[in-house]
């Protein structure tokens, strides 16, 4: 009957209960949607970076990361690629020669990272072909083809089919020059990446720099699901302890920070909203206790144990919060679900988003488990918020409370 009384008590003052339940519902909607938006942004950035640029992990010569020198190459790389491809969870492997270059046109020069990709397997580890806004992807049919971003092309004032000259430091330390033809322009969600990278074929770059046959600077590996990255990378390390295997977290500390802190920040934001709602609940329940002083005194007089009165008020708070919480979760599921389907177009801030590697069309993300966690957080907030008013009620003296005006 305690539950029964508590539930009916919630609806004694319908307007007040609806106001506080609505506050909880809309507060939750704000918190959950913010969380989903942040998770959507972060995951899009992580997925985009992994799919276009980093892969889940990369294999290098141990000396390579220090100065990214072409001297430190992986030998017999095709055999290594096939060996990694055979590991469970691996969905794509490809090798690249990577160096630094100055790309020049008649109108300007750009310092970039030049990557010579393996045309046969590059599609397994990079979706750059899908990011083309003009022209075609690299192909063996073209002579000395190069891909650059639209941004770099604009800086160099070059168009499709224009010729540019790349100067690259060879493995022997000499600066070598090679002409390339711009065959395609790409644009990713990350303008920093776009401004800093050009792509050519592995054969052309090897030929230009005198790179040994069968050698490459790095092997890029994609695995699925993402959380098996460490496991697969460890298998490669175990098989090749002489090589340096680094996951995307090691390769991009900023991405690691994004992955680790976005969720925590989202929860923190939600916690702040729930804390604010908690104060609203405290206020409401204090009013309830003040209004029902005589009734509480009567219950004490009749022999209702203080612990039961405490629980009755706790249940009442929990019910009130659950009504608001449930409404908030239903609203959140609807709003997050809808925006997840159609995307949230933030094109007005497109330049800013691209500058930090985010897609201006955001698809908020959340999970069923998250909604259960939110429900738990609401309930915990309700119980914590109910403690102070309930304790106030327990301090009442029955003989005095019965005579109260309320």
């Amino acid at each position: 009957m305690l539950w029964h009384i508590a539930w009916r008590n919630v609806w004694r003052n319908r307007l007040r209960s609806l106001v506080i339940a609505s506050a909880i519902a809309f507060g939750l909607l704000g918190g959950v949607f913010s969380y989903a938006l942040m998770m959507g942004l972060a995951n899009q950035q992580i997925r985009g970076t992994l799919r276009t640029e980093l892969g889940n992990f990369q294999v290098h010569h141990p000396e390579y990361p220090a100065d990214r020198d072409l001297r430190y190459a992986l030998t017999d790389v095709d055999a290594l690629v096939e060996e990694i491809r055979a590991l469970p969870g691996v969905v794509g492997v490809s090798s690249r020669i990577v160096g630094t270059a100055m790309v020049s046109s008649a109108e300007g020069t750009a310092a970039v990272r030049i990557a010579g990709v393996d045309l046969e397997h590059v599609g397994e580890i990079s979706d750059l072909a899908e990011k083309l806004v003009e022209g075609e992807y690299l192909s063996a049919d073209e002579r000395i083809p190069m891909l650059m971003s639209r941004e770099t092309a604009e800086d160099l004032e070059v168009r499709l089919r224009s010729r540019v000259v790349a100067s690259v430091v060879s493995p022997t330390g000499e600066i070598v020059y090679g002409a390339f033809r711009v065959v395609g322009l790409f644009e990713t969600i990350n303008s920093v990446f776009d401004g800093a990278n050009v792509f050519v074929t592995r054969e052309d770059l090897a030929s230009l720099t005198g790179f040994a046959a069968g050698a490459a600077s790095e092997v890029i590996v994609r695995v699925q699901p993402r959380d098996t990255t460490l496991e697969v990378a460890a298998a490669v390390t175990a098989a090749h302890p002489e090589l340096l295997v680094r996951t995307w977290r090691d390769l991009s500390p900023l991405l690691q920070l994004t992955a680790d802190f976005t969720g925590a920040f989202g929860y923190g934001f939600l916690a702040i909203i729930l804390t604010a709602l908690g104060f609203g609940i405290v206020n409401t329940m204090l009013m309830v206790v003040m209004e029902r002083t005589r009734e509480i005194g009567m219950l004490m007089a009749l022999g209702m144990a203080r612990a039961r009165i405490f629980w009755m008020l706790l249940y009442e708070t929990a019910f009130l919060s659950m009504v608001g919480g449930l409404a908030g979760i239903v609203l959140s599921v609807a709003v997050v679900g809808y925006t997840q389907r159609v995307g949230l177009n933030l094109q007005a801030w497109s330049d800013g988003f691209r500058a930090i590697g985010y897609d201006p069309i955001v698809y908020p993300e959340s999970s069923t488990a998250f909604y259960f966690q939110v429900a738990g957080m609401v309930l915990a907030t309700a119980f914590i918020a109910a403690i102070y008013p309930a304790r106030r009620a327990l301090k009442l003296l029955p003989a005095e409370a019965i005579r109260a005006d309320t």
């Binding site: 009957m1 009734e295 007089a301 009749l302 209702m304 039961r308």
Partner: protein, 228 residues
């Protein structure tokens, strides 16, 4: 053995730095089956006396025994349990739980006592019949008249099968007819079942029907019809 045995009871408050003797050395014995009215002007100490006898208020000195058990030295938890099982209360303002129906208000006390649901249902029906409002069993207090609410309050007080019922100004909010009907009902219960009632009242209609009248003034017993 008396149902209530208050021995030289004092209750002193601090009021503006000065002691106020709300109850000033009262001794009172109430035997089983009595129908007693404690009367006196406002502030004479009758409600304080009832609160102390009912374990709602502490005493400053003296002893209070209920059915031979001292209650003045009990802990708060023991007193709560004691009130639940051995004392019935009727208040001036009815004090029913507004979100429960008449029947649920009565069953609530039994549930606190741990009585099984089936037995609760039987007893609540009997009590509602006894107080003459069986047809109102599923109606909430807000939709009952004052007299009907007080009848439910009496039924609730009896639901715990107490040793006695303390009623503090139970007729103060009732009109003449409802007062007469309520008192007739309580007297009938007293006559038929030997239920002990102790009233704090200054309602002449209650005083007229009480079998024993104890008059207080300034926290002292100034007359007791049982002594005459």
């Amino acid at each position: 053995m008396p149902v209530i045995d208050a021995r030289d009871v004092y209750k002193t408050y601090e009021g503006n730095g000065l002691p106020v003797h709300a109850v000033n050395g009262i001794s009172l014995r109430v035997e089983k089956g009595e129908f007693t009215a404690v009367i006196g002007p406002s502030g004479c100490g009758k409600t304080t006396l009832l609160n102390m006898v009912g374990g709602l208020d502490s005493i400053t000195s003296g002893e209070i025994l209920i059915g031979g058990t001292r209650i003045d030295s009990m802990s708060g938890r023991q007193l709560t349990d004691f009130r639940l099982h051995r004392i019935g209360f009727v208040f001036q303002a009815y004090n029913l739980i507004p979100v429960l129906t008449a029947r649920e208000n009565i069953e609530f006390i039994m549930e606190l006592q741990g009585v099984e649901a089936a037995e609760r249902a039987v007893r609540s029906r009997e009590l509602l019949e006894a107080v003459g409002i069986a047809e109102k069993s599923d109606i909430r207090p807000g939709k009952l008249s004052g007299g009907q609410q007080q009848r439910v309050a009496v039924a609730r007080a009896l639901a715990s099968e107490p040793e006695f019922v303390l009623a503090d100004e139970p007729t103060a909010n009732l009109d003449s007819r409802a007062t007469a009907e309520l008192l007739d009902m309580m007297l009938e219960m007293n006559r038929q079942s030997g239920i002990t009632f102790v009233f704090a009242t200054h309602d002449q209609r209650v005083i007229d029907r009480a079998r024993r009248v104890v008059a207080l003034d300034d926290g002292k017993v100034v007359s007791d019809s049982a002594a005459r």
